[in-house]
């Protein structure tokens, strides 16, 4: 939609969507692969302080 106010016309597109989640404790693969990778990075950063 295009909304005009104060002599400003702005095109605003509005939509709906969703993020998904599930029980991470039950999942050993799939969606959590990327998460596991992130955790390994965190661990390396932590060790680098010592």
């Amino acid at each position: 939609m295009s909304i005009t106010a104060d002599n400003v016309a702005l095109h605003v597109s509005q939509s709906w969507g969703y993020y998904t989640s599930f029980d991470a404790t039950m999942d050993q693969s799939g969606d959590n692969t990327a998460r596991a990778q992130q955790v390994r990075t965190l661990r390396v950063d932590f060790l680098s302080f010592h």
Binding site: M1, I3, V8, R35
Partner: protein, 379 residues
């Protein structure tokens, strides 16, 4: 062990928003082709839109003489047959060059500047590009550049952010299937039929469909660098929308007296001032009154200025006998508190906004709230 660390097993839940993959893209729900109905109303026009998921419905209203577009959504019951929790958001996309910057309110008072993937007081390494950039939106969120501004007002507190430049998103509804392990010990999966007692008294079985929520957004656009001013101009009305009461009356008898309009004030307050509290106290003739300046410093060229009011001419039907200023919580007189509080800075008492000797004419500075106990006689 790493795989049992709280980081690894952290679920999205009542206290925590965490999609199952860190940089998860929003799964968009498209409009249904030919699913929109247009209506011309006395008060403006209305579009009722349908989506490919039947559990999302939306009505957009453009009201005559209103400075905003209203979007009313109805969401739920969120389906969970696929075993996935879902957190439903609306996203507004504009050509505004927001440069990773957006603004969110702090409990309806001052606006904070937020920068995506940034914290003002420490260098952050981003592991959660979506949820790490979500903030609580109590009243409004806005983005702006030199040419245009977009402000979105909420009717309730929600999470929100600007995950892409030029966009604003707000989370309207959530339904989750795992506990976030923060103490509630149940997933955020509220249902309309209620729940059995928890063990040992029951089995915590839930009944009925998932909850359906209905709420609205007020969308405003304006000239460049005017986001705060846009939001402020409508925030109080969005927060304190009229409450509608219906009473019964005998059909044969006379109806209760009808008064078309009523105001508890002598006239309009200045547009940057809100009467926050007007409460009759237990002591006869005494009233608690709070008045607040609703604009922050620099948010509007005119309305961010100081404003002066006279308590003697605010309330119709009353004659002001005396006024005493109190602290915000109204449990101590301001003067007592000011002189007895510990002087942390060594610079003496805090400077106070001007007030007349009889405590009736006073000045409100940007974002200031002043509290008074008034003794008033009915005229």
């Amino acid at each position: 062990m790493l795989t049992n660390s709280p980081i690894f097993i952290q679920n999205s839940g009542a206290y925590i928003f965490r999609p199952s993959t860190p940089g998860q893209k929003l799964k968009t729900i498209d409009y249904l082709q030919r699913g929109a109905k247009f209506f011309k109303r006395k008060w403006g026009w209305e579009v009722q839109a349908q989506f490919k998921e039947p559990w999302i419905q939306q009505t957009t209203r453009v009201l005559n003489n209103a400075s905003y577009i209203e979007v009313e959504y109805t969401i739920g019951p969120i389906p969970i047959g696929d075993g996935r929790g879902k957190e439903i958001v609306t996203r507004l996309v504009t050509p505004i060059q927001s440069d990773a910057t957006f603004f969110t309110d702090s409990n309806g008072r001052e606006f904070f500047e937020r920068k995506r993937d940034h914290r003002p007081s420490w260098p952050i390494e981003v592991f959660e590009p979506v949820s790490g950039n979500y903030y609580p939106i109590n009243a409004a969120i806005y983005i702006e550049d030199e040419n245009a501004s977009l402000a979105v007002l909420t009717d309730r507190t929600q999470g929100g952010g600007s995950i892409l430049d030029g966009s604003v998103e707000l989370m309207a509804q959530r339904r989750l299937l795992a506990d976030d392990q923060r103490g509630v010990k149940e997933p955020l999966n509220e249902t309309a039929g209620g729940v059995n007692p928890y063990p040992p008294y029951g089995d915590a079985t839930r009944y009925g469909e998932g909850m359906v929520v209905r709420g609205n957004y007020r969308i405003m656009v304006g000239k460049g660098k005017s986001g705060a001013s846009l939001a402020r101009s409508e925030m109080d009305r969005a927060f304190s929308s009229p409450l509608i009461f219906v009473a019964s009356a005998p059909s044969a008898g006379s109806a209760p007296p009808i008064k078309a309009t009523h105001s508890g004030l002598m006239g309009h307050l200045p547009p940057n001032v809100m009467l926050v509290t007007f409460k009759k106290l237990d002591r006869p003739k005494y009233y608690l009154v709070r008045l607040a300046h609703q604009y922050g410093v620099g948010e509007d060229a005119k309305l961010s200025r100081n404003v002066t009011l006279d308590l003697a001419f605010l309330f119709p039907g009353f004659k002001l006998a005396n006024a005493t200023e109190y602290t915000l919580s109204a449990n101590r007189k301001w003067n007592d508190w000011q002189h007895k509080r510990f002087d942390w800075t060594g610079l003496g008492p805090l400077p106070k906004s001007p007030i007349s000797d009889d405590n009736t004419i006073f000045t409100l500075q940007p974002m200031e709230v002043r509290t008074f106990v008034l003794k008033m006689e009915a005229k």
